[in-house]
């Protein structure tokens, strides 16, 4: 076992094709990512082609990501690919890595920033103290950054299990459960929860009450008031 593994591990980090969605350390804007006519992964090159066809939907981006990871049969290669994605994630500076932005429930520390841009699309930034978690965040952001809020909210955690990598993600085809350490799921759920709040804020369905140091945000639902989850509310500046 050790001989085989040694040889695998000694492979240099850039021994195979670069990540699908990022050609180099500098991040490629999503609008520049193109789908080639031939959808095979190997022939998929990412940027700056002439006469390109833009990737527009999250489902397409997800499909490509899933097939990219599924093409890597060795676990070590999938981990390497995640680390490649981690390397191109811009991350957050110290001021962004604060308790208020933490994603609850991850085995590692993950910080997530969620804003809605002027076009009403969701923009995400994230960082982690773990390289693998950072890779997860990078993949999620690659798929969901710039998406319509409805697309973010419609994204299923099960879709990620196909990628077959990482803590809490099943290796036998069973959908990943609500494991306490499932970074994929926790980051996605945080993205969705915070998106939902921002949508409600935009639509004026939420108002805030300041009581002492605690912000209580009330949201009218069916003529009653529903108290929203506190961590989601920290992202809404009133």
């Amino acid at each position: 076992m050790s001989l085989k593994l040694s040889s695998t591990l000694n492979t240099s980090r850039r021994s195979f094709s670069p990540p699908l969605f990022f050609s180099n350390v500098k991040r490629t804007p999503i609008s520049n990512i193109r789908i080639p006519r031939n959808r095979s992964v190997k022939s998929f090159t990412c940027v700056h082609e002439r006469n390109p066809e833009p990737i527009t939907t999250t489902s397409t981006k997800l499909q490509l990501l899933v097939s990219e990871f599924n093409s890597l049969t060795e676990p070590i290669d999938r981990v390497k690919r995640l680390l490649d994605y981690a390397a191109v994630l811009p991350g957050l500076d110290e001021s962004g890595r604060v308790q208020a932005k933490k994603v609850a429930g991850c085995a590692t520390q993950v910080w997530l920033e969620v804003v809605m841009d002027e076009r009403g699309r969701m923009r995400f930034r994230a960082d982690s103290d773990s390289e693998i978690s950072k890779g997860f965040c990078s993949c999620l952001i690659m798929v969901l950054d710039g998406a319509e809020p409805e697309e973010v909210l419609g994204f299923k955690t099960e879709d990620l299990t196909e990628m077959n990598v990482g803590v809490g993600v099943s290796h036998v085809g069973i959908k990943a459960g609500a494991s306490r350490v499932n970074t994929w799921q926790n980051v996605l759920l945080a993205m969705q929860k915070r998106t939902r709040c921002l949508v409600m804020k935009r639509e004026g369905k939420v108002f805030a009450v300041l009581r002492g140091t605690i912000h209580v945000i009330m949201c009218p639902v069916s003529s009653t008031y529903k108290l929203l989850a506190a961590d989601a509310l920290l992202y809404m500046s009133f």
Partner: protein
């Protein structure tokens, strides 16, 4: 039913003369056999090698082709065939509710359930099986003490008629010192406690106004017992302390701690989750007031743990949960309650699980807890020494020496690599299962200035080869991440 109960865990029931030619019985034959460890005795083959055939789960490959190396025993242990068979036998042959029906199956189930209680009592040398309360797990056992004993004994004492008298007669300072005033009543815990031993007391302290005081670590990174002696006073009502730390691997001298605590009138609750599965624990020798442990960490099923409480304490405690089984008589406006342990076992208990726990205790007792402890000490040393060879590693807890023994687990961090990244690669690339995270000890991690750590924890069915494979895999993993940075 006549109960045959091994009296103390340390008894080795094996016949030293009956040396088996083949130390390791074939797995297939072990399946057909019963309740004792596969092998008899041998000097040349380690206890790990001898007992591994009893644990079918260990003989598998994960992710298709990677041999499983299971080093997450502090989280939960694996179960020997004897325990699996006991569970199966219960459901196949005599599944029935206990303490109720008069029919054959119910009588048999009740006998076996109560026999399991006797086995637990004998295993930790309790003087009477009535001192053993079955709970869902150790967490529930601690909550039971917190809500039942804690709510009654950590409260203000308003109803105490001596209250005003003491104040008037002895003055403010003496009154404070009596500990009657809730503000001055305290519970001492260590920063190294498991969340399960901290949170219930926080909840109870909120209700009663008692103070929680936390004992820090000393320079050797084990709880500072000299400081504990200073902290103890007449105001201390309870000391909550672990026997073996699930992160630091430190082994505490509970007997002395109990002695100091009793000197000031404080009770002691021992979290023995990491000690009962690995060494001889004698509650009478320790003189502990309460002691909790968990079945699933000692080769038994999940869903059951136990509380040991001295009988006079249990008898004076009000019920925790209400329901069937725990009552004496129920009227519409009130009820009277059964004596312990039934008083604390509301509803149908985990019958099969209790019986499985009994089978696990038989299994461990047949090997002998002294033998298990001795072997694990050897493994602990081997693990620690080999782990030190990893570059830039930081192992938490006391350094082993002539006077300091560590349990067979190591929590560690490698500089600039997240422990979860290490654990992920060890798992996916090498089939080595270790834990990463805060191990339900966030205050301790905060105290040590880290957010998370990795932990490899062993049990008697692990071998030096397991450690070798782990160290090899860890070395490669560290190189991998360092190259990748």
């Amino acid at each position: 039913m006549e109960a045959v109960v091994p009296k103390l865990a340390s008894f080795n029931l094996l016949n030293p003369k009956s040396k088996s030619k083949s130390a390791i019985r074939r797995f297939s034959s072990a399946l057909c056999v019963s309740s004792s460890p596969s092998v008899t005795s041998t000097d040349s083959v380690s206890l790990g090698h001898i007992t591994r055939p009893d644990f079918p789960i260990l003989h598998q490959e994960v992710y298709g082709s990677k041999k499983l190396v299971y080093l997450d025993n502090a989280a939960t242990s694996q179960k020997p065939i004897a325990v699996l068979k006991a569970l199966q036998n219960y459901y196949e042959a005599y599944n029935s509710n206990v303490h109720r029906g008069i029919h054959f199956l119910s009588a048999k189930a009740t006998d076996e359930y109560e026999l399991a209680r006797k086995k637990v009592a004998a295993f930790i040398n309790a003087s009477d099986s009535g001192e053993i309360v079955f709970t869902k797990n150790a967490t529930e056992a601690i909550n039971l003490v917190a809500y039942s004993w804690g709510l009654s004994n950590l409260k203000s004492g308003d109803e105490n008629e001596d209250h005003l008298f003491v104040f008037l007669a002895s003055g403010y300072k003496a009154y404070k010192d009596t500990g009657f005033w809730p503000k001055y009543i305290s519970v001492i815990l260590t920063v190294a406690e498991h969340h399960s031993a901290i949170v219930p007391w926080q909840l109870v302290a909120q209700k009663t106004g008692a103070n929680l005081k936390f004992l820090n670590l000393n320079d050797d990174e084990s709880p500072d017992l000299d400081k504990l002696k200073e902290m103890l006073s007449r105001k201390t009502k309870l000391v909550v302390i672990h026997h073996i730390s699930n992160m630091l691997a430190s082994i505490l001298p509970i007997e002395e701690i109990v002695h100091w605590s009793h000197d000031v009138g404080a009770k002691v609750l021992v979290d023995a989750c990491q000690s009962v599965p690995h060494m001889v624990v004698d509650v009478q020798g320790l003189d502990a007031d309460f002691l909790v442990a968990s079945s699933h960490k000692m080769c038994g099923p999940t869903g059951i743990g136990f509380l040991f409480g001295k009988s006079d304490l249990l008898s004076a405690m009000p019920p925790f949960l209400g329901g069937g089984e725990m009552i004496s008589d129920v009227f519409l406006d009130h009820s009277t309650f059964a004596d312990p342990p039934s008083r604390f076992e509301a509803g149908t208990p985990a019958i099969g699980e209790a019986i499985g726990l009994g089978a696990a205790i038989d299994y461990l007792s047949t090997i002998g807890m002294q033998k298990i402890h001795a072997y694990e000490m050897e493994l602990a040393k081997y693990l620690y020494e080999n782990l030190l060879s990893i570059p830039n590693i930081r192992i938490y807890g006391p350094k082993p020496s002539e006077h300091v023994q560590r349990a067979a687990l190591c929590s560690f961090n490698v500089e600039n690599i997240h422990p979860t990244d290490i654990a992920t690669l060890l798992d996916q690339q090498y089939g080595v299962a270790i834990r990463s995270g805060h191990h339900c000890a966030q205050p301790l991690h905060r105290y040590l200035g880290v957010n998370a750590s990795a932990r490899a924890s062993l049990h008697f069915y692990n071998t030096k080869e397991d450690v070798d494979e782990f160290i090899h895999a860890l070395n490669e993993t560290v190189s991998f991440f360092n190259v990748f940075k």
